[in-house]
Symmetry: C2
Subunit: 202 residues, 2 copies
DNA sequence: ATTCGTCGAGACGAGGCCGTATCAACGCGT
DNA sequence: ACGCGTTGATACGGCCTCGTCTCGACGAAT
């Protein structure tokens, strides 16, 4: 935890923030290039142009490092503007998530970490925390609005809603790795809205 | 009485099939345990209880080996019985896919290979071939039946249909890693059917 | 009975990474 | 000016893997 503790004993010298940032960038680049499994501290230090010392002084292990770096970058909460209808709210989510998933680094890093989470509890916990924070929030927000508008039934489970909205998008981008033109995003939004509307009568 | 057209030079001795099988099993086990990135030929041979020689005599590289093993196991085509309605066809797909994704090995191996595909063209090609063969087939099959029944419009894109059907399932099982009771599968089927029905009026 | 390819085992040099330690240089607060 | 902690660099022994090679043993066809 290199967050500024502000406690300087006597003769100064603090972990330099610019170096911490350089290491963070290098971690992401390495993560995208070789994945968590093959990621090595030496390669991160090399890429960041720093000594291994600088890395080990900040984190005690590869897991520590990755978890901290991922948490830092993914900590940004997001507020969703009310677009006026369920369909448009969903389209907004799809555009935001789609842009994030298309990011050249995220596109490689996210599936890699999700796969690693299947065998690494530390990664799994971090990812779960980050994902649920940003998504479950969006889910309940959108569902609550749609219920208030009378567009869907009140019993709709926000988690299931997220599955129906984000699932097809993730599948398309990260699994099929196909193109995703704007027309398809709109079609996905219409479909997801219909899917949510059909929900409670299961 | 040679079973097939085996061409044995002079003094016999063929690659033993039981050993090939043992190696294949070991590859899957290692793939699940450490992932493609960390997988090593030595570990595979060790786990299979064979010498490195036996492995190198069959495949020239790690990529060769994994591609061949994956292709072998995933080559099974599948014919989908007609369940009488779009909703029930979809539920059938979800149950089959859900069972496959819940397999203790597949559950770890599939996301891992999908992540690796983002940086390894050989893996990507293999996976794409295997996935599209088994899924696009199902997609067009189900869509064609639903169109014939008059349940959905004829312009529905089978690929988009697959996104809408499998996406939420994969997201739930492989990404969120939540439970998936049968009631949820049925709800997903209802929703997916509604999503498909809403499609053409985009 | 002989022959020949596969079998397990392991040796080999090369190379990467681990985590720790040591080094002089630098900058900052005192 | 002084002390102190960080800095990059480098070295260390240990471990693992690579891909090739050699060895004796086995088995199946000749």
């Amino acid at each position: 935890m290199p967050t500024d503790g502000r406690r300087v004993p006597a003769g100064a010298a603090v972990l330099r923030e610019d170096i911490t940032d350089a290491i963070r960038d290098a971690v992401f680049a390495e993560l995208a290039e070789v994945g968590y499994g093959r990621l090595s501290i030496e390669a991160v230090a090399r890429r960041a142009g720093v000594g291994k010392t600088a890395v080990y002084r900040r984190w005690s292990s590869k897991l520590d490092m990755v978890v901290d770096v991922v948490s830092t970058v993914a900590g940004e909460r997001m507020d969703l503007p009310d677009m006026g209808s369920l369909r448009d709210d969903i389209e907004m989510i799809l555009m935001i998530a789609g842009r994030a998933l298309r990011h050249p680094l995220a596109w490689k890093v996210i599936p890699d970490l999700l796969a690693e989470a299947a065998r690494n509890p530390g990664i799994a916990e971090t990812l779960h925390r980050v994902l649920t924070a940003n998504q479950r929030g969006m889910g309940s927000q959108v569902v609550a609005r749609a219920v208030a508008r009378g567009e869907i039934a009140a019993e709709v489970d926000p988690d299931l809603a997220i599955d129906l909205i984000v699932g097809p998008l993730y599948w398309r981008i990260a699994v099929s790795r196909n193109e995703l033109p704007k027309a398809d995003i709109q079609r996905l939004a219409v479909s997801a809205a219909a899917a949510l509307g059909a929900l409670p009568r299961a």
